[in-house]
């Protein structure tokens, strides 16, 4: 390209507005230089292209903007050349350096930024000669006082230039060679860059100074000058600015700190300077003090040659710092100070360390004897001991004997507590040091047989200090102090158990087994045996909270200590069992014992799922714990204890299982733990075979556990960490099976089909009177919930491999049963079947069996005679109906056809049932129950609805037949909510099939078309009126469970029905559903209610009055249990009404509400006297809101 070409490019560049455009032009110029045959000429033409802008004119005509842009053209081209790795010839670089360097003295207005940029790119080129670095610095320094007149951005370019130069080792060596240790260039730079304040520039400037200090050997004078420069900024802070530079105060602090710590030659200046600042006392704020301490810490950690840089100042540093801890009150400062002391000690060695420790001990020993300063001296001592193994070994012997004698002689309880806290911290520090890399690396010379005073941290410490304190009898006064002390002892012994030796042989535990056992029997008392046996751990404690505090401390100590001494867990479990046995013998009907069985089990469960344990140990611990709980259950069953005891154990086992499934190593427990391989029938049998021969408790065969054998079996189990979840689940299935087998038994039923087996409840359930039946049912339901937790964690393949669909009906008994719920014992085994079915996935149930089960269940539930089962059993059967209908595989044609047939027959059965002339009072409840069962069946169906009309005939007829019934329509309408009410069995957690739009679908298909029927055709006809009200009841029964968005589209009509319903509904579930929908509407779209406000407010006021009258009438009822239930519904209505009023002022402007204020204030005032406290509270808030209506 000829010179004209460059001229053209330069012109385009100067005229360009966009950055991208500028870059394109610069790229063209760079390409032209690269490709030119004669580089020298091309470069000459390129430089000459900006000639027409380069001569500064007189001030008035000086177009320095264009000139700056033109220079920018050169620097941008250089940038691209440098990026591409193209190097100009050395002499060209030299010429350019001279040219750009001259601009520093000749063109302060336009040339600086571009020159600095251009020079920066030149210095990065491979052909750049280091000797030019000095020239650049000298030229730049010619800026003199004009430097600070430049904009911060321009100065930043220069700082980057300087930093770039000093980062180049060849330039550094050349500068060192040229200037020697006088470092003249630095003096010039210091002169130039004085008074910099822009944060971004300071960061670069401090980095430059740091590099200088690290790389140059300078005279003390120069070092001192540099020190003065950066120390003048200390302590640095950042003023809030409108234009954020992106630099934080912490960045600046770190940058200055790096300067302080850059070179050990600075020690003589930096350390006294920092200590001087620190000793200013109250004049220094906390933040500054912390900054000083961090800086000092950085210096002490980074300085080389500690003998020259650190040791001379040790006394001075200790002298200043000890007071920061001794008299300090601010935690942040104290923490930072202790860190500095640790760093200081780590730099000392041999005699210096010893002499420092001697001095320090002299100060500390006095303070330790003085109750006022013990805590502070303790902190200092711990930081010294914890700094390194050497300092620990040097200071602990004297410290321990001092603590020992002080504890013995002091009479102050708080002093004792402080000393004990110190001792506990020393133990923690020792554990920490034992695990430190210095001691764990076998080859490390520091490691020796006794580098952490092994012999002092074993039984002797326990016997000399902890034992006497524990055995001290509680004083009559200051019980709180004594409890504080006992809690400290618990904390201490928990750490003591874990102390290990440091010798090169495999490390061993320092405490003997007998001491460890004693410690655990101590801790077990407040955490396990005292609560179970309903004894007070310390007799004189009267307050329940204090007792609880001690118990929690003991449980916490156990949680820490058990992983350190694994045999203890078995000891605790045996203690748990024996305490339960003896407590039960004393007081078999204690409610407290039942709740303590669960609470203590939950503490033991926390220990078993501790994060300190490996996954394998967690499995072993959980297995041991579950086995113990089964042993407890076995004991209660053989004692024929009330079934509430059984429930307590079943719940505890459930807790252990669900904690184990949820614990850290099995992430995503909801979908079952991740497993390397699935559980197959073979591997399940093989693993369980080993377990069963390994001493576990077997409920079914009444076999008690053998703990020794069990522990050995668990130790021998050869399981990979990754395979733990699989084995855990296999074990949990086995546990479920054990419970099921124990609670049931198989019986031959020859009456229907010869040789057919059916399942009934075991003998355990027949031994007690019928008043216990409810409690027994609760136990069965809890067992079922446990089964669900286990079954749902399995994958589909596993559920099929283990034939869980069959087990759901045979209840794990080793006999073949048909796919139906056993009718023996009045269907009481239904909850157990439900438990297994609830966790099964789609297609886990055999197709034929699925349909058979569904059909037979419907035949049992949709009948016109009273069935013999209890309400709870019926609830379980209904739930099974939901599950079975929900899990039907509707993609399977055979299933859908069969389903359709089944629904037709249900419909026919119900119609016949409904048309029975016998509408006596005994028949009505049977009809309602049958209707509810159909609703349950449909609830499962709706959740994964099929939109085609022909599949929903049953649903349609349920909507028409139910509320349309002239006799019991109202009750049937109330039940319709069951279709969409929340159900656990339809949770996705239980693998239910749910389609997202089911709510909307139901509303638009079934509810919306019937809203018109909520108004009577003939207002004078009683029958019409009754049907309309029933329809409205049905509508709101469903709407209350839908989301607002589902029905928002039809709101106008719904609101009209609601207003009418306020006067036609009874106070109770009906009114409640209507109020819930009104509240949801008010929250969703208040505008839609605006025009109806007058009728809504007056309607709601009368609802409140009516609800209060209903409640008052209920008060006269004799049956107290019933009063409670009767009271709930009116109270709920009153609460909802008041909540509606409370939300109005937030939803509308006051001008819309003002007309109603007067009408409302009096009823609200009366509502402040509502019989229910919670409602009074809402009434008061509402009254205040309306009172203050502006």
């Amino acid at each position: 390209m000829a010179g004209a070409g460059f001229n053209e490019l330069a012109l385009q560049y100067v005229l360009a507005d966009e950055k991208s455009e500028e870059r394109t032009i610069a790229e063209k110029a760079a390409a032209a230089i690269e490709t030119s045959a004669n580089g020298r000429v091309a470069v000459g033409q390129w430089v000459a292209s900006i000639n027409r802008w380069i001569q500064p004119a007189d001030d008035a005509n000086d177009d320095f903007i264009a000139r700056a842009k033109a220079l920018g053209f050169l620097s941008s081209t250089l940038e691209i050349l440098q990026e591409k790795g193209f190097a100009l010839k050395p002499e060209q670089i030299k010429l350019l350096v001279t040219f750009f360097g001259s601009l520093f003295s000749s063109d302060h207005r336009a040339g600086i930024t571009a020159s600095a940029k251009a020079l920066r790119h030149l210095t990065r080129m491979t052909t750049f000669q280091p000797s030019l670095g000095n020239d650049i610095i000298q030229n730049a320094c010619k800026l003199g006082d004009d430097f600070k007149l430049q904009t911060p951005v321009t100065r930043l370019e220069l700082y980057e230039l300087f930093l770039g130069l000093l980062q180049d080792p060849s330039v550094v060596s050349d500068l060192g060679h040229q200037h020697g240790n006088t470092c003249g260039f630095m003096i010039s730079l210091l002169e130039l860059c004085r008074n910099e304040r822009a944060p971004l520039n300071l960061i670069k400037w401090f980095a430059t100074l740091e590099i200088f200090l690290q790389n140059f050997t300078s005279t003390p004078e120069v070092t001192s000058e540099v020190f003065k420069t950066f120390s003048a900024y200390f302590p640095i802070s950042l003023r809030a600015s409108a234009t954020s530079s992106g630099v934080t105060a912490d960045d600046l602090k770190t940058a200055v700190r790096s300067c302080f710590a850059a070179n050990h030659h600075l020690a003589g200046l930096a350390i006294p300077f920092l200590l001087g600042k620190l000793d200013q006392g109250d004049a220094v704020t906390v933040a500054v003090k912390v900054d000083i301490l961090h800086t000092l810490d950085a210096c002490l950690t980074k300085y080389d040659h500690p003998k020259q840089s650190v040791i001379p100042y040790v006394d001075q540093i200790w002298g200043s710092l000890k007071y920061e801890v001794r008299n300090g009150e601010i935690q942040d400062t104290i923490k930072a100070t202790l860190k500095v002391i640790g760093s200081l000690i780590r730099r000392l060695d041999g005699d210096e360390l010893q002499s420092f420790l001697n001095d320090a001990w002299r100060d500390l020993s006095d303070d330790l004897s003085n109750p006022t300063y013990t805590a502070q001296a303790g902190r200092l001592l711990v930081s010294i001991a914890g700094a390194s193994p050497q300092s620990f070994k040097a200071i602990t012997p004297q410290a321990l004997s001092h603590i020992h004698s002080s504890i013995k002689h002091t009479s102050s309880a708080s002093h004792k507590q402080d000393l004990l806290t110190l001792l506990n911290s020393i133990l923690l520090v020792r554990s920490h040091l034992t695990d430190s890399p210095e001691l764990t690396e076998a080859a490390n010379p520091v490691r020796s047989s006794n580098c952490l005073e092994d012999e002092k941290f074993g039984d002797s410490l326990f016997l000399e200090i902890y034992l006497p304190l524990w055995q001290e009898s509680p004083p009559s006064s200051s019980l709180a102090d004594h409890i504080g002390l006992i809690r400290k002892v618990m904390e201490g012994v928990a750490t003591l158990v874990g102390q290990r030796s440091t010798d090169t042989n495999p490390p061993h535990r320092l405490c003997s087994d007998s001491v460890c056992e004693q410690i655990f029997s101590w801790l077990a008392k407040p955490a396990i045996s005292s609560p179970i046996e309903a004894q007070k751990f310390i007799e004189s404690i009267t307050d329940e909270d204090t007792n609880q505090l001690l118990r929690e401390s003991a449980a916490l100590a156990l949680k820490k200590a058990v992983p350190l001494y694994p045999p203890a867990f078995q000891q605790l479990l045996l203690q748990y069992l024996s305490s339960i046995r003896s407590a039960y013998q004393l007081q078999p009907n204690s409610g407290n014992l039942i709740s303590e069985i669960r609470l203590v089990a939950s503490s033991l469960c926390e220990i078993a799922s501790s994060e300190l344990l490996s996954a394998k140990s967690r499995l072993a611990y959980s297995m041991l714990l579950i086995s113990t709980l089964m042993e407890g259950l076995l004991g209660m069953l053989s004692e024929q204890a009330p079934s509430r005891y059984w429930t307590a154990f079943v719940c505890s086992i459930h807790l252990v299982i669900s904690e184990s499934l949820a614990s850290a190593s099995y992430k995503g427990a909801k979908q079952g733990p991740p497993r390397t391989q699935p559980i197959t029938d073979e591997c399940y049998s093989e693993f369980i075979g080993r377990i069963e021969n390994g001493g576990v408790v077997e409920l079914g065969s009444n076999k008690p556990g053998n703990y020794e054998l069990m522990s050995q079996t668990l130790e021998r189990l050869d399981i990979d960490e990754a395979d733990v979840p699989r084995h855990a689940l296999a074990y949990f299935i086995w546990v479920t099976k054990q419970l099921y087998i124990r609670f049931t038994q198989a019986q031959l039923c020859n009456d229907r089909t010869p040789g057919q087996w059916a399942i009934k409840l075991s003998e355990d359930f027949s031994r007690k009177d019928s008043s216990n039946a409810v409690q027994q049912d609760i136990c069965l339901h809890q067992t079922a919930l446990l089964a669900t937790t286990v079954v749902r964690s399995l994958s589909l393949e596993e559920q099929i491999a283990l034939q869980l669909d069959r087990e759901a009906f045979s209840l794990f008994q080793p006999v073949a049963t048909p796919y139906e719920i056993s009718s023996l014992d009045n269907f009481r085994t239904a909850p157990l079947s439900m438990g297994v079915l609830q966790g099964l996935r789609l297609r886990a149930i055999d197709r034929e069996g699925h349909l058979m089960a569904l059909e037979r269940l419907l035949a049992v539930l949709v009948v016109d005679t009273a069935m013999p089962f209890s309400d709870t059993t019926r609830a379980a059967l209904d739930t099974i109906l939901v599950i079975l209908s929900n899990r039907l595989d509707t993609k399977d044609r055979i299933i859908t056809d069969k389903k359709f047939e089944m629904e037709l027959s249900i419909m026919a059965a119900f119609r016949m049932h409904q048309n029975r002339s016998d509408t006596s009072s005994t028949h009505a409840p049977i009809l309602i129950r049958a209707y509810c069962s159909i609703l349950h069946y449909l609830a499962g169906d709706i959740s994964r609805f099929i939109p085609q009309e022909e599949y929903n005939a049953l649903l349609n007829s349920v909507f028409s037949l139910g509320p349309g019934d002239i006799m019991v329509g109202r009750q049937l309408a109330q039940s319709l909510g069951l279709l969409v009410s929340p159900k656990e069995c339809l949770d996705t957690e239980n693998h239910a099939i749910r389609k997202k739009l089911s709510g909307e679908w139901l509303f638009y298909q079934m509810v919306s078309p019937r809203i018109a029927d909520c108004f009577p055709d003939d207002p004078n006809s009683m029958v019409d009126e009754r049907r309309a009200v029933n329809r409205a009841v049905a509508t709101f029964a469903i709407l209350q469970h839908l989301k607002y968005d589902h029905y928002a589209g039809d709101l106008e009509r719904i609101v009209r029905v609601a207003i009418r319903s306020l006067s036609t509904f009874k106070i109770g579930v009906e009114m409640e559903s209507c109020l819930i929908v009104l509240l949801q509407t008010l929250e969703g779209e208040p505008e839609k209610l605006k025009e109806h406000l007058p009728s809504l407010i007056s309607g709601l006021i009368s609802v409140y009055d009516m609800a209060r009258r209903v409640a008052r009438a209920a008060d006269f009822m004799v049956d107290t249990e019933n009063v409670k239930a009767k009271n709930r519904e009116p109270s709920q209505c009153r609460k909802l009404v008041l909540e509606f009023f409370q939300k109005l002022p937030a939803s509308y402007d006051s001008q819309h509400l003002w007309p109603h204020r007067h009408l409302l204030l009096r009823p609200l005032w009366a509502a402040c006297g509502d019989p229910v406290r919670e409602i009074r509270r809402i009434a008061l808030i509402t009254r205040q809101t309306w009172d203050n209506l502006a």
């Binding site: 669960r598 309400d871 008060d1115 006297g1169």
Partner: protein
């Protein structure tokens, strides 16, 4: 303006009388709540048809127990009123105390909601020459009148022997017309609003 009593005795908020069961419920441990979750009554057993008693603990989660307005409730209404001088509540300063609240006839569930009920609150000024005793009494009165139902009559008095001019203050607080006139006074109304701001 100098304060009448610049250095009053202050009670810790956690030590003030309150309904104990609430506190207990709040401080349950995490492991216990996990246990509760395991033992909860499943939804399918909570339908109207099978309302069986589930847990063996007494069911305390029922919000709808019928409880009359008692002294503790009145105390809770007024103990959060701010003192006009200090940034502290009347409960913390022990100006209002639970034993100094009397309700007659004594609260009972069976009482007819229209029975005329009298609430008498005796306040204890922090010092015997407290000039703000009347304002505090007025504050207590306004708060209770706004919070209690129409069949309640409120009387506020200075506790015997705790104020040098208790007769005069009592007379002012009992005089309906003077109370009404006081509430018309904009400055006084401002002070009262400020005091009642902290009531919830």
């Amino acid at each position: 303006m100098d304060k009448d009593n610049a250095n009053p005795t202050i009670l810790n908020v956690s030590e003030l009388p309150t309904r104990r069961d609430r506190r207990k419920k709040a401080s349950r441990k995490a492991s216990e709540s996990k246990l509760d979750a395991i033992m909860r009554k499943p939804q399918y057993l909570s339908t109207p048809f099978c309302d069986i008693p589930w847990s063996d603990d007494t069911e305390s989660d029922d919000d709808f127990t019928v409880e009359p307005i008692d002294e503790q409730e009145v105390y809770d209404l007024i103990s959060t009123i701010s003192d006009p001088e200090h940034p502290l509540s009347l409960g913390q300063l022990a100006v209002v105390n639970l034993p100094d609240i009397h309700i007659s006839p004594s609260p009972s569930v069976a009482a007819d909601p229209n029975t005329l009920t009298r609430v008498l609150v005796k306040i204890t000024p922090t010092i015997t020459h407290c000039s703000l005793a009347t304002v505090i009494g007025l504050g207590v009165r306004v708060r209770l009148e706004k919070a209690l139902p129409p069949n309640y009559r409120v009387d506020v008095m200075i506790k015997e022997g705790t104020h040098s001019q208790d007769d005069q203050v009592n007379k002012q607080l009992a005089d309906k017309e003077r109370v009404a006139a006081a509430l018309e006074n904009v400055t006084l109304k401002g002070v009262l609003d400020k005091m009642l701001e902290t009531c919830v």
